[in-house]
């Protein structure tokens, strides 16, 4: 297949073909400071939306044999402030509020009266490292039943003794591997690992698994997303 033209017409053909590529220039919007943050927020929001769609409530995170555990001494201690926020363990209880039938203060003994689950699961930090730990506690879904939570509500929020705070979507809160964790490696939580109660969520990234819990609320509206989320981390970050 061959045709003929002259150099002037060829130049205009070439120009037309070149102009078809203008959509690529639209990517330049990412270099404009004013719209950049908005675009990135949209991108992150889309990723969160896709993550929530990809989450399957019946799909379990892989579990591991005891021989595959990271030794307890090599399980990193990550916090944003202090390793030990000086929780008074004798006086501690969990303040429950929001869309629940039985709000109030719940003691550790009450939480421990629910069936105990032990699981060896992978803990993935947003920084990139990962460890396999042994976690023991009660299913958050069992506790939500105990407090008469409205599981049709969208979120659950927690506050911590060190001013850290987090939020969790209800689907993940009801996942069978989501624990109110009071034990690691068969022993009560140490202070650095969040004594007396922390979250263990094998389907979530590390920063969602708050330590030193003091308050738990069921809600439909989030005033704030989470300590790191409010600085720009992903809200959903499901694994």
């Amino acid at each position: 297949m061959s045709s003929q033209t002259d150099s002037r017409r060829f130049r205009s053909i070439s120009r037309r073909e070149l102009l078809k590529l203008t959509p690529v220039v639209a990517l330049g919007a990412f270099a404009v400071p004013k719209v950049q943050q908005k675009l990135l927020k949209t991108g992150l929001g889309f990723s969160d939306w896709a993550s929530a769609r990809l989450f399957r409530s019946g799909h379990l995170a892989p579990t591991f044999a005891d021989s595959e555990l990271t030794p307890f001494s090599k399980f990193p201690i990550n916090d944003y402030d202090v390793d030990d926020p000086q929780v008074d363990l004798d006086q501690w209880n969990l303040a429950v509020g929001g869309a629940v039938q039985k709000p109030g203060n719940y003691t550790l003994a009450q939480i421990q009266s629910l069936p105990k689950i032990t699981q060896n699961t992978r803990h993935v930090c947003i920084e990139g490292w990962d460890v396999i730990g042994k976690f023991g506690g009660t299913r958050l879904s069992d506790f939500l039943k105990m407090i008469g939570a409205d599981t049709a509500a969208r979120f659950l929020t927690v506050e911590c003794a060190d001013d850290y705070y987090e939020s969790l979507d209800m689907a993940t809160a009801l996942h069978p591997q989501t624990l109110l964790c009071y034990e690691m490696y068969g022993r009560p939580l140490t202070r650095e690992h969040g004594a007396p109660l922390r979250l263990n969520i094998p389907t979530k990234i590390g920063y969602k698994q708050a330590k030193y819990l003091t308050d738990l609320k069921v809600t439909n509206v989030l005033q704030k997303l989470g300590y790191w989320e409010d600085q720009g981390y992903s809200e959903f970050y499901g694994l």
Binding site: E17, K20, G43, F46, R56, H59, G128, Y233
Partner: protein, 231 residues
């Protein structure tokens, strides 16, 4: 798809040259979107890597390299992740558009390295690296180029698969498992990035060596004075 050839008569000199339509619009579009995405994904990926520049244990941490902040995108880990989690969709989108177009248009024959290309690889290597004679060009791409481009496409697919395994090691636990678990998937993702960068380096060297007409063809689609006669 039949290749389009055109004869161009110079309006001043009357001289006749030939041009061939080498790169369809979708291929050119995806090429440039991909180039921008790769730049952002590598820059932001290295920013994420800076948060834990190791593939060993966290305790004790042995760093592999300290990547300078000046050569990373996003300013901090959270910023790097925002760029990465945004541009991965653009990268995947342009990749799927490209693959779909190539397959359904039949244009993939231009670039896919096939068994009949194998005998032509060595003469090209001899030409490029050992000053051997230049084998006659038969199509848009010689066998060595087809090998390079096909490998680059495979690396692109692998970069997405290893990325998904890191992003969703629970929902896609089978994918992470195939790569040896989350920990190794992260290593493969990193290794594949360097393989892609090695390709990009070689690609840019060849672009410089092959001159202006070749470079322009990725913008307009048309290549003037092709070295080959398309059938």
């Amino acid at each position: 798809m039949a290749t389009r050839t055109i004869e161009i008569e110079n309006v001043k000199t009357g001289e006749v040259t030939e041009a061939v339509y080498e790169h369809p619009f979708i291929v050119r579009l995806c090429h440039w979107v991909n180039a921008v995405s790769l730049f952002v994904l590598v820059g932001s990926g290295l920013q994420i890597f800076r948060a834990f520049p190791s593939f060993g244990a966290k305790i004790p941490q042995k760093d592999l390299i300290h990547w300078p902040k000046a050569f990373a995108i996003g300013g901090w880990l959270g910023g790097g992740l925002q760029w990465h989690l945004t541009f991965m969709w653009i990268y995947i989108g342009s990749g799927l558009l490209y693959l779909g177009y190539q397959i359904f248009s039949g244009n993939y024959k231009q670039v896919l390295f096939a068994p009949h290309d194998i005998p032509g690889v060595w003469p090209m290597v001899r030409h490029y690296f050992f000053f051997g004679p230049k084998p006659a060009a038969k199509g848009a791409y010689n066998p060595l180029q087809k090998h390079a481009y096909t490998s680059a496409i495979v690396l692109g697919v692998l970069s997405v698969l290893t990325g998904i395994a890191i992003w969703k090691p629970v929902q896609f636990s089978w994918l992470a498992w195939m790569m040896g678990g989350f920990h190794y998937a992260r290593l493969w993702h990193f290794v594949i990035m360097w393989a892609i960068l090695a390709f990009v380096f070689g690609h840019l060297v060849m672009v410089v060596l092959h001159g202006w007409n070749n470079f322009v063809s990725m913008f307009t689609g048309w290549k003037k004075d092709p070295e080959y006669r398309p059938e």
